[in-house]
């Protein structure tokens, strides 16, 4: 099995979710993260002090799925998350060795 981790712009979450649903992927875990990269941050001013916020809000999506579906999923994410502007994010793929569904103790591909 593989794990896809995608860092995307927050307002793209619904679209990505829908795109994944279309190709039959309906399990995922999402978290709010802050990203730092080429996209530059913004300046905030509070009375005397001015400072730059480098970290921008991003959404991280994690999906564990069978090897065979990985490419389709990555493609779906890229297509739906893209705006073409800097800061669109990344997709990373790594290997998962075991997966268990807590409720049923089903293992691996049955579990996801």
């Amino acid at each position: 099995m593989k794990k896809i981790e995608a860092i995307i712009k927050p307002f793209k979450l619904e679209e990505v979710k829908d795109a994944l649903a279309e190709i039959g992927i309906e399990g995922m875990t999402v978290s709010e993260v802050k990203g730092f990269g080429r996209q530059k941050g913004h300046t905030e001013i509070y009375r005397g002090s001015e400072y730059t916020v480098d970290f921008l809000p991003k959404i991280k999506i994690e999906i564990v799925l069978p090897d065979a579906r990985t490419d389709a999923a990555v493609a779906a994410i890229i297509k739906s998350a893209r705006t073409g502007k800097i800061g669109d994010g990344k997709v990373f793929v790594s290997t998962i060795e075991q997966a268990v569904r807590i409720r049923t103790e089903e293992r691996n591909e049955q579990a996801i």
Binding site: E44, I45, G48, S49
Partner: protein
């Protein structure tokens, strides 16, 4: 140890105070039976008394017969109670939110605990002897002990504050001023001062700075009480506390934050307000509460109160708008913190002036209040490099001083006849009052701060500062995430 001492002290004071339960009222009962012996007032005199109530002037004093309406007048008393409630609202929760929103999340409760602790502590001191030292008859510099334990401070009698408001409502109205003044200092020393040090510092500061200064400015025998004391050395004007409240707290705040030192990471790490939303709520409450502060300082629901109400509104709204528009012009964006700061600055600057100036004077005050403290917070602070965490000095110190000057400039008998009597040399008197206030605040704060540093210590440890004062000093967190 210290805490137990503190605690026992309170108990002792209470034990001392309780006997007055009896004696105080006996005295007043005697007094009223004595007057009851006099002859009746005539119909005309009784009519005049009623008119005096409506006009908020003194009862006819040309007769020995007691007034038929010797107590508080309902309209004035109603307004004075409302005003006192409004001023308390300024501190709790107003100021606690204004400041609490501006600190980092890990210190929000510490700011609140400081405001709450000051409210409790000052109330106890005020009842004990603070009110008496401030408004009891005494010397030009300090009052006497006539009213300790609120002796003779009743609801059915009037005169300690004004002609038609209960003596005890006056005492509580003034208590709310005595609470907010030291609470303002909290803004400068936020996020790093020990809680025990705050309580100790404030206790000493009340005796050394607040009680004397409030006496000098507002007591009928005070050194700088222009309107009431014909023998005042400095015939200055301060309607609602430009010197007593804002300058004293602002300048003391500056000194204390210098002695205390900067926050860890100051100037290096960003320390943005953890919740501008709370700060804005606090600002709205401060504005509304300030009506009690300023219009309440007329001590009646009369035309002077109405004038103070009006000028307060104009200066606050204009101060906020000008500050934010100045940001718009100079920095490209009008910020909510800009509006809030400007509103507070407008309120601060108009405080000493509100009962003495016209609406157009108030508009001018609003514009100046939106610009000068803005520059103080933006340029002066960075240039001098002190860490006045929430700009107590920039807003209250600078604003209060500015207010004292603007009062000298704009006070007019057309807004308030009392100005007539002090008009001559007013500006010079204002400058003298400024000097006295700054001198007292700076010297006393320096001494007290060093004293506290030498005894309980001023600052929390680095570790506590990093972890946040909420957890370490108060064992609580401001917010808890969802779970389960």
């Amino acid at each position: 140890m210290k805490k137990i001492l503190l605690f026992s002290g309170l108990m002792l004071a209470l034990a001392l105070g309780t006997p007055t339960l009896t004696t105080a009222q006996e005295a007043s009962a005697d007094a009223s039976s004595a007057t009851a012996a006099a002859t009746e007032r005539s119909i005309l005199e009784r009519l005049e008394d009623l008119e005096a109530y409506v006009n908020n002037v003194a009862r006819n004093a040309s007769t020995n017969a007691p007034s038929k309406i010797p107590g508080p007048g309902p309209g004035h008393n109603a307004w004075q109670m409302t005003a006192a409630a409004l001023v308390l609202f300024m501190t709790l929760p107003g100021l606690a939110l204004f400041y609490g929103g501006l600190v980092r999340r890990k210190n929000v409760l510490s700011v609140m605990a400081q405001c709450l602790g000051i409210a409790g502590l000052v109330t106890i001191l005020w009842w004990l002897c603070g009110y008496s030292l401030t408004f009891g008859a005494g010397k030009p510099f300090i009052g006497g002990f006539d009213y300790v334990f609120f002796k003779g401070v009743t609801g059915s009698e009037v005169g300690q504050g004004s002609n038609w408001i209960s003596n005890n409502v006056w005492a509580i109205f003034q208590l709310t001023f005595a609470i907010i003044t030291p609470a303002l200092i909290v803004g400068a020393i936020a996020e790093r001062m020990k809680y025990s040090a705050v309580l100790l510092f404030i206790t000493l500061w009340m005796f050394a700075v607040y009680f004397p200064l409030a006496h000098m400015v507002w007591a009928a025998d005070g050194l700088m009480c222009g309107p009431l004391n014909p023998n005042a050395k400095i015939k200055a004007l301060d309607f609602a506390g430009g010197t007593v409240v804002h300058m004293s707290s602002g300048w003391s705040a500056l000194i204390l934050c210098l002695i205390l030192g900067k926050r860890l990471g100051h100037g290096r790490e960003p320390m943005p307000p953890h919740s501008m939303v709370l700060c804005m709520i606090g600002t709205g409450m401060l504005w509304v509460g300030w009506y009690g502060f300023n219009a309440g300082s007329a001590l009646a629901a009369d035309g002077i109160a109405a004038n103070a109400f009006t000028t307060t509104t104009l200066a606050a709204a204009t101060g906020g708008f000008v500050w934010a528009m100045a940001e718009y012009v100079f920095k490209g964006k009008p910020s909510v913190l800009g509006f809030c700061s400007g509103i507070v600055a407008g309120l601060v600057v108009v405080t000493p002036a509100c009962g003495f100036v016209t609406p157009s004077g108030a508009m001018l005050i609003g514009v100046v209040a939106g610009l000068i403290p803005f520059l103080a917070c933006w340029k002066l602070k960075n240039w001098l490099g002190y860490d006045d965490a929430l700009d107590t000095f920039g807003v209250h110190g600078v604003g209060g001083t500015l207010g004292a000057l603007m009062t000298g400039l704009l006070a007019t008998p057309k807004a308030n006849p009392v100005v007539e009597s002090v008009a001559q040399g007013l500006m010079m008197a204002q400058i003298k009052a400024i000097v006295v206030t700054i001198f007292l605040s700076v010297v006393a704060t320096t001494i007290i701060a060093l004293l506290v540093k030498a005894t309980v210590g001023l600052r929390v440890s680095e570790e506590v500062e990093v972890a946040g004062l909420d957890l370490s000093e108060h064992g609580e967190e401001g917010y808890h995430q969802a779970r389960g």
